[in-house]
Every structure is written in structure tokens, then in C-alpha cells.
Symmetry: C2
Subunit: 370 residues, 2 copies
DNA sequence: TTGTACGCGTTATCAA
DNA sequence: TTGATAACGCGTACAA
């Protein structure tokens, strides 16, 4: 009754070919169709005997169904693509975790690609994902045009934009309420005595996140009579651009306390570097609120005030959106908007408030000290 | 001559089915085989006329070959799996970039999975990747046993272990020379006047990276007569464990300067938190060298001395290793070992050296200041 | 230079 | 309850 697995000899070593459904059928003495029924869990239509035979056969041959063959037959690859502009951005990774969990829950696999901010690479990646017949796409675009996205992908493929919108608004979207977040950051600074504020962002050039954050910032400035606001665009690829920008902003005479809103995690990093290089101190020489909560936000004295995003939930929402489309939802493009949370630390403290490098009260005064 | 694409009507909207090679053949008035030849770029065997006809047909129908069908036929999915224990670890992401680039160069796609440190999830992921018939696997294991890995995957599947070795040494490996790196870190501290050093790591429990770093540490301590060394294991899931461990270490009386070597990026983060919470200052109260260069290493005063890994190259090497196996290499398990680089900053300074929060000489004294 | 026909591993539709 | 057979989209012998 035991039949050996088909084996072919290459390079002197015997390499067993992976067992197929036909092998299992032969081993169990049943037809492929029956095995297929077993795989679909149709225990109601199978006799207990054959059920067990097949079970044994599968175990004996170490058989695993080929998702490739399944995909070809059924057209359902159970693959979801996600293209991010920058994997090294903690935001992307954090979102990924949520997306991944939700995918696994639904039996999908996530194929992650990194465009590195390049349009050309993004195009290639979309073509690649298309070749693998992904069923849906999460796109954190490098700034490609909506038409190019449509052209690169088959009609009707569910797409959800992540964090960055694309102009014509034809796609689903998941991301932050940037206007509200920027407004909150600005009001927070104003409320803590800062009156001359700069929002520093990478070149805005139509990137929706940046546009919106700048807009919310301007609105909040406008509603406060005594305040001045500037939007500064900095090309982070140029080595000293940030330091010069910060220096110039701080050098302009003003009677009010100055502060910076950093429009992204990367900008926050570079802003802090610049501030330190210039030998300045937060919040006295300059206040700071940064978008995105980072693991080191609390570590750099006097602690950096940040706007945290619910990244995990954003990832989950993106996948849910896709799953809904796959389940047949044919509504108009839908946006899922989350709210940011301001986490207050020393970098935006009032003059009377926390001082930089103040000795923090230990959580457990001396509990650990012998 | 124009034949329309097959279309089926669902939910009131006409959704074009993706064009197949047969559609292209029909449109161009040739056989499928001829189109297939076109796709393989065999311009030498095709007449110029048919070449153009096919080109037109493909453009007109917006045809894209199905990688799924190709995979089924040829058994080559051009898919490489990578399972990491923690996507949020900057190390993993940095390695990913190298791996991804090298994959793209070789025409492979990378399927990233995150086990989150869970054995069970790791097993599931391996099963999933197997179902998709990946051609190779990069495994940053959550600590699963080598046998389980072998069992979960088909015989002969090229596997390269990343960062963490698995006991029996049956697999290829790419990672750091941890012993040398730990030795260098220790010697560096000793050379800067520290004589009572603790290596702090997460519970070692057989994780090769931790074992090796502890080993290198002990060796270096042993070669320096006047020095004391302790290995402290801290469970980072317990909220105050780190702070207590640091406090206890610093409380033990000693005539020599004390320092900590943090055995990973995460441990570095937590150690710095603990030091700050205790109101202590580096390097006077305690010195620090941390494994893994992090974006904020230079930002936390007085700057944290780190051991940087060539992460990008490690990623590239992992994929190259796989590609070599796929090309037929049948040698013994091979290890590719990289060397860490110590980046010196204030946290490990000699007593006479840098002081914390010393005003740094600005790179460009006042160039940017109007 | 081109076409015919088969097989890759599944699932689904029939019949039995 | 089970089996034979036809797809799914592509590559590739082999034949023309």
C-alpha cells in the first residue's frame, strides 16, 4: 500500500518533489476530487473511513496544498500588496503591524514593498504586485499621480491610500486628520506662551499630508491675533539646510517666544539635531512640537512634545477597507480619518513651567536603590 | 480585426476580466506559443511583423502576464520569504532594505512576515510561506528549534538564518561577529577608565546573539585583571525591572567607574530611560555603550557610544546567499560574518574627556545666523 | 518562423 | 458518498 514519493535525482542528491494532491489521492486510494473535498473541510459528505485515510496520507507525504495552484484556479490569491514610501519611517512600520494582524485574521498575506520615495520604483513595484495578482493594494504613495496608479493596475482593484491622498480623490483613504492635528499643535504652543511659530516641513510639492498640516497651522495662527506664523520648507537632502533654516528663523527679531512645529518624524529628528548643533536649549531658546511619537521622544531633554498617531488602528482600518471592497462594497470612495493625540513634554513648556534638565522625580523614589 | 475583451457583468458594473495570453494571441492573430516567445524576448526567432502585432495587441489589451500561472508551470515563484522576530526593531528594517534591493536586482519579490517573537506565529508564518511556494527563506527566528523549522518547510529549501543562529548549525547564517564586537565594547570602556562593567541583556535563554555577546564580554573582562564584570538579564516586559537592575548595579560599592553595555537597541533605550529616571548622568554616574546605532544615539546627551552593524550589507548578503543556493551551490552550511563598528560618543568618555552637555562647537560657527 | 498539444496543482461541475 | 473531467494561464516540447 505504501507508495513512494516521486523523486528525481539532481546533482547526486535525491530531492523529493513536493507531494501533490494526486500523490495524496494515490496514496489514500481515492480520487483527487475526494482529497479536494477533504481540504475544503467537507466532513459532512465524506465517509469516516476515507476521511482518515486521507488524513494519514497527507501526514505520511507531508503534503501542503499549493496556494499557487489554488490561485490559478480560483483567481483568489489571498495576497494584499502594501507599498510604502519609506520603510525606515517608524510610522510605516507601526502601521504595518496593524495591517499584518488584520490580514492574518482574514487569511490574507501581506506583500510589503518599499518605493524609497522614487516614482520610478513605485511604478515597477505596482507592476510587480500586479503580476502576482494581488487582490488589494495599500498605497503610501511616493507622490505618483493618480492616473499613473490607475494605469499601472487593473480596473476594479481595491486600493486604499495610506496617509497621503492623491489629487482626484478617486480612491479610498485612511489617515490622520492633519488639519485638526496641526491646529491643535499650534494652539498648544500659543497656549504655552509661544507667539512666533514656524512649521517646518519637507518640500510640500503637493504632498497632501504636508499641505494639510500647513493649512491647519495657518488657520490656527490666523485665529490668534498676536501671533506670527511661517511655513518653512527644507530639503533634507542638503546637509546644512535644516541648521540654516532654524538659525535664520531664530535670528529674525521678535518680541515673542519662538517655537517650531516639525511636520514629520524625520523633520523632528533633524530639527533637534540643528537645535543641539546651534547650542540652543528647548523650550527657552525655542519650543518644539513634532508630528509622530517616536521611541526617543521622552529621552531627549527636556522631552519632546509630539502628536501621536493611532498607527496600529490605521493599519487595521486600511485592511478592513480593502476587505469590505472585496466583499462587494461598491460605494463612493470612502475616507477613514483618525485623530492625533498631543503628548505634552518639556519642549513646549510655558516659561513658568518645566525647565530643561530639571531633575525628574523618580517614579519610585529610591525603591531600587538597595 | 478588433475583438473585444471578454467582459462579465456583475453588480450592474461591467468589469473587464484581465486579458490572458490567449486574448493577446487572438487579437494579434497568432498562436499562444508565439506570444509566449515574444514574452521571453526571443526577438531572434520572430518575424518583425508578428513582433509588432503582438506588441500592439498587448498594449491594446493592457495585458500583463500572470506570475501565478508562470509559477505553477515552471515551479519558480520568484518569491523569497523573510520572517523577522520584530518589525519595529530598526535593525530588522535596515536589513530589509538591503535584502529588498538585492531581490529586485535578481527579479525576486520579498514577502515580509513578522512573528512578533511568538513561536506559534512563527510556525504559522512558515506554513503560509510554504503554501506560496517561496524559493528561499530568510529567518530571523523567534527562538524556534531547528527541527521545527525543518519540519515546517520542504526539504532542500534554501534557508539563511539572520542574526540569530539555531543550535545544530545546519543552516546558512548571516550576521555579526558578536564576540568580537562585545570584546571591543568592553575594551573600549576599560580603555576609558571604566573598571566595573555590567552587560545588560534580555533573558539569554539560548538566543545566540545574546550568548555570544555575553561570551565576548566575559572574555574581555577576564583579560583585564583589575576589572569586574557582571551579566544582568532583564525581562523588559516587567515595567520596573530595568530601573531596578540599573539601580542595584550602581548601588553595589566599588572603587572603579561603572559602565553598562546594552546588548541590543531595545535594551539601550530602556537603559537610558532608567538612567534618566534615576536622575543620573552619563558618563560620570555611569558609562554606556549600546549595541546597534540608532537615529537618536547622537541626540541624547552626552551622545551614546554605539556599535553599528552594516545592516544594509547584511541584508544583501542574506539574499545573495539564497541566490547562490538557488543557483546550485551545495556546499556545507556557510556563515557570513560581518564586523561591527564602534562609534564613540560622550557616554563612554574618560573622566578627563567630554563632559555631558558641553557646548558643542557648531559645525558652521554662525554661518546661518543671518 | 510558427502552431499544436500537453502539463503544472487545484477546484468545480457533472455523473455515477 | 465518490469519481472522472474540464478548466485556470502559461511555458515548452514537438511538429510543421
Amino acid at each position: 500500500m505504501l507508495r513512494r514519493l516521486p523523486a528525481d535525482v539532481r546533482r547526486g542528491t535525491t530531492v523529493r518533489r513536493a507531494a501533490t494532491i494526486a500523490d495524496v489521492a494515490a496514496y489514500a486510494g481515492v480520487s483527487k476530487a475526494t482529497v479536494s473535498r477533504f481540504l475544503s473541510g467537507r466532513s459532512d459528505v465524506l465517509s469516516e473511513t476515507t476521511w482518515k485515510q486521507i488524513q494519514d496520507a497527507i501526514a505520511a507525504l507531508d503534503y501542503r496544498p499549493s496556494q499557487i495552484a489554488r490561485s490559478l484556479k480560483g483567481g483568489r490569491t489571498r495576497l494584499i500588496g502594501i507599498v510604502v514610501a519609506d520603510v525606515t519611517n517608524p510610522y510605516s512600520v507601526a502601521v504595518l503591524r496593524g495591517a499584518e494582524d488584520e490580514c492574518q485574521r482574514a487569511g490574507y498575506m501581506l506583500a510589503l514593498c518599499n518605493s524609497g520615495g522614487s516614482h520610478a520604483k513605485e511604478q515597477e513595484l505596482l507592476a510587480g504586485l500586479r503580476a502576482y495578482r494581488i487582490e488589494g493594494l495599500i498605497l503610501n504613495s511616493a507622490g505618483i499621480a493618480a492616473d499613473q496608479v490607475s494605469d499601472a493596475l487593473p480596473d476594479g482593484l481595491p486600493i486604499v491610500l495610506l496617509d497621503r491622498k492623491l489629487p482626484p480623490g478617486r480612491f479610498d483613504f485612511v489617515g490622520l486628520n492633519n488639519i485638526a492635528a496641526a491646529t491643535e499643535a499650534t494652539r498648544h504652543l500659543v497656549g504655552h506662551g509661544f507667539g512666533d511659530i514656524a512649521l517646518i516641513a519637507e518640500p510640500i510639492t503637493g504632498v497632501s499630508v504636508r499641505t494639510e498640516r500647513a493649512l491647519g497651522f495657518r488657520q490656527a495662527i490666523a485665529e490668534n491675533e498676536g501671533c506670527t506664523g511661517t511655513v518653512i520648507e527644507v530639503d533634507l537632502h542638503q546637509p546644512d539646510a535644516m541648521q540654516q533654516a532654524v538659525a535664520r528663523f531664530l535670528a529674525t527679531p521678535s518680541s515673542r517666544r519662538k517655537a517650531v512645529i516639525a511636520a514629520s518624524g524625520l523633520v523632528t529628528l533633524r530639527t533637534v539635531q540643528a537645535i543641539q548643533s546651534l547650542g540652543l536649549h528647548m523650550p527657552d531658546d525655542v519650543g518644539l512640537v513634532g508630528f509622530d511619537e517616536l521611541e526617543w521622544s521622552a529621552l531627549v531633554p527636556p522631552g519632546i512634545t509630539t502628536i501621536a498617531q493611532p498607527t496600529y488602528d490605521i493599519g487595521v482600518a486600511a485592511v478592513r477597507n480593502l476587505l469590505a471592497r472585496l466583499a462587494g462594497h461598491r460605494d463612493e470612495p470612502h475616507s477613514t480619518i483618525f485623530t492625533g493625540t498631543l503628548i505634552e513634554r518639556g519642549s513646549s513648556a510655558s516659561e513658568a513651567g518645566l525647565r530643561p534638565m530639571a531633575v525628574p522625580a523618580p517614579a519610585q523614589p529610591a525603591a531600587g536603590l538597595v
